[in-house]
Amino acid sequence: MTSATRDNKGRPIVAVTGIGMVTSLGVGKSENWTKLTGGISGIRRIKRFPTEGLRTTIAGAVDDVYREQMPPAELSERVALLAGEEAIAESGIGSKGHFPGPLYLAPPPLEVEWADRIKMAEMAAANSDTGYPDLLRVARQYASEHAPFKFAIIGENLAEHFGTEGSPVSLNTACASGASAIQLGVEAIRRGECEAALAIGADASLTPESLVRFSLLSALSTQNDPPERASKPFSKNRDGFVLAEGAAALVLESLEHARARGARILGILEGFGEKSDSFHRTRTSPDGKPIIATMQKALADAGIGPQDIDYINAHGTSTPENDKMEHLGVATVFGERIKDIPISSNKSMIGHTLTAAGAVEAAFTLLTLQNQRLPPTINYAVPDPAIQLDVVPNVARDAKVRRAISNSFGFGGQNVSLVMALEPA
């Protein structure tokens, strides 16, 4: 049964009524959109800590929000909060301190940081070698002067701040996390558990160790100079992604509920697909089958076919492997039509915001629909002859976009695609 507020499978249609965003381009979706479509890069030299001895010395950091000594948990919470507040304000849903639905959050995985370990080691002042038993000896004293480490602290604090309902879910599906958060919200509304949900992806965890970890997997670009040219998805000379920070929040709401309260509909989340890959911990199946299945499932869930997609928001990390496999995937799913479907990578400007990326890029996809303008893939100077795609090279352009798909692929075989559209008539 299809009615005005139900989809062709009889499920409640899920609308987006609020969008909030923070990236290295700035705070707020307006500034982000202006710069993104202006082809401006947020990738800069790292100022937060000395980069001596590191192979990669650039990142897309949220320098506008960072304050001296802010640990990743606090900074991630801060960008999540800013994005959430912007989204809720735009949506006009609920009341101050009460969001009428659950929170689905994709935070960075938190750990005790080096800054903490070093300070604890100083406090312990071991006579010879410093080990964990020394740190444990002073842990309580240290935590009484700082906040004790708690793994789910960001979700808990946000749930308290926004007054979301029920148990806040923090999730991780690696680089697809932000998309998974949205998906969980859509599913909950479709189940009829709630009329609204707040989905946030946030990651502001740039530290020497986070950089080194990805460096050791040879995942990062080392073309540090100039920073803004390092991220070059789909180019022949691409050499890795640029680690970045950011957050995006979406207020998801049943179309029925949104219309009943006269909310402005920013877009529709028509469907999603996910399919895990068992090939390798960091690599995609060489046949691309899982990412192909992910996109096909998303189209099927939305009740549409490849011919209905007007734009692809690529995962487009700028690693040799991802962009090759994503090309194989979209070429298979969309066939001959792929030549006519523009596909661009936001990461060319904002880098890879990791657990936030799926949410940030869904937000940009919704802005693409709203503004009928395609953000470019910048730094596209040396096309890869093996990748024949319209990547919206270097300059944004206007286009008729009724429906778009956003891809997120992550380590651990995580794949999620989201289909978004304009409000149905």
Binding site: G53, P109, Y132, L135, K275, F411
Partner: protein, 395 residues
């Protein structure tokens, strides 16, 4: 989507200090023997070790084992047991569409590397470049893969071929409760037919004790049952892997799978943990299911951790509820994200054996009802989150 379908547990996989598999676990609980614990290796902290396992049985490739740290091996092992128990292990036609929700903590650190860096740092003037240099040379790329929370799920996909979908929930006890809650809700609403849900906890490690010692929560010096650890409480962490296969009853019937039990309800919520709030949330959750519970044939399996004030607050509410109570933490330790999953598995065994296991400590009370057909499983987080589930016999 108002139609709600029945959700069965068709597979249980559990490993802990009590051994491998739900039957070995149950035999120990039934005897009520004192649990194995280790008060030497991490003295003064008390932890529950893992019973010896031959990881080759569930993770045949050594190359796979090398790519994992212990928390992942424990989880992959328990997941394999659950898939085997449900009769879907090695069946790609089913595993291809099997969804997965895993509850995980952060990954493990290389304690030796961390210690060496901290030791070396004492002698250098410029710390930041020293840290950079040592991280570049000392961190192992494979360790990073063991630190990514979603790489337990990733390894389950690789080793067991579960590739429908894969989601990892983060953050202590609530992650396990929410994993079950959402897996159950998805199946009930027709969003999934078959879901592997579980968690894994590697307790015997210094980096983890460092987290919990910050709030003084880890149990020290003297072992005692969960209920009897004094006014400040204490958590004895345990190595636990626990996975369940949840399935729509129709799907299970169509392939001839037997139900171990039905999940009738899962509730989860949070509060600010002001005085009285834990009790209020638990009461509300109990009230939501109480009408469907037959007190003559029901009992509580508690996930009390030993942390205070959570353990005392739960005890207060359990006394009010009045059903017979048994806690598992005294026997298997506290496996944080994995605890709720383990307790659901143990609840299945209780229903199948038609009785409760032996009491341990002053908060366990009541005789085992005859004809045990319903178990309420509680999960009160050590610092946040309260949940409960209602498990029922399928007649």
């Amino acid at each position: 989507m108002t139609e709600r379908r029945e959700v069965w547990i068709t597979g249980v996989g559990i490993v802990s200090c009590l051994g491998e598999g739900i039957e070995a676990t149950w035999r120990h609980l039934e005897r009520g023997d004192p649990p194995p614990y280790d008060d030497k290796s991490f003295a003064p902290y008390i932890v529950h070790p893992l019973a010896p396992l031959n990881f080759d049985k569930q993770i045949p490739k050594k190359s796979d084992q090398r790519q994992m740290e212990l928390w992942q091996r424990i989880g992959v092992y328990a997941a394999g047991l659950a898939l085997g128990d449900a009769g879907i292990a090695g069946k790609p036609e089913l595993l291809d569409s099997t969804d997965m929700i895993v509850a995980a903590a952060g990954g493990e650190r290389d304690v030796a590397a961390d210690s060496a860096i901290l030791t070396g740092m004492r002698k250098v003037a410029e710390r930041a470049p020293f840290l950079n240099e040592r991280l570049m040379s000392d961190l192992r790329p494979t360790l990073f893969l063991a630190q990514l929370p979603n790489l337990l799920a990733g390894n389950i996909s690789i080793v067991h071929g579960v590739v429908g979908s894969s989601r990892t929930f983060l953050g202590e006890e609530s992650a396990g409760i929410d994993a079950v809650r959402i897996a159950q809700a998805r199946i009930a609403a027709g969003q999934s037919e078959l879901t592997l849900v579980g968690g894994s906890y590697h307790a015997t490690r210094w980096d983890l004790l460092l987290v919990f010692e910050q709030t003084g929560m880890a149990l020290k010096d003297t072992f005692a049952p969960v209920w009897d650890r004094g006014s400040h409480g204490g958590v004895a962490f345990g190595n636990i892997g626990a996975f369940l296969v949840l399935e729509s009853s129709d799907h299970a019937r169509s392939r001839g799978a037997r139900p171990r039990a039905r999940i009738a309800a899962v509730r989860a919520d949070r509060n600010r943990r002001q005085p009285g709030e834990i009790e209020a949330t638990l009461r509300r959750e109990w009230d939501a299911v109480a009408a469907n519970v037959d007190p003559a044939h029901a009992a509580v399996i508690s996930g009390a951790s030993g942390a205070e004030p959570a353990t005392s607050a739960e005890r207060t509410v359990l006394k009010e509820i009045g059903l017979p109570v048994r806690n598992t933490g005294t026997y298997i330790g506290h496996g944080v994200e994995a605890q709720f999953l383990a307790n659901l598995g143990i609840a299945c065994a209780a229903i199948e054996h038609d009785k409760l296991f032996a009491p341990a400590g002053s908060g366990d009370f009541g005789a085992s009802p005859s004809g045990l057909s319903q178990v309420v499983v509680t999960g009160v987080g050590n610092w946040r989150g309260e949940g409960l589930a209602l498990i029922e016999r399928v007649d």
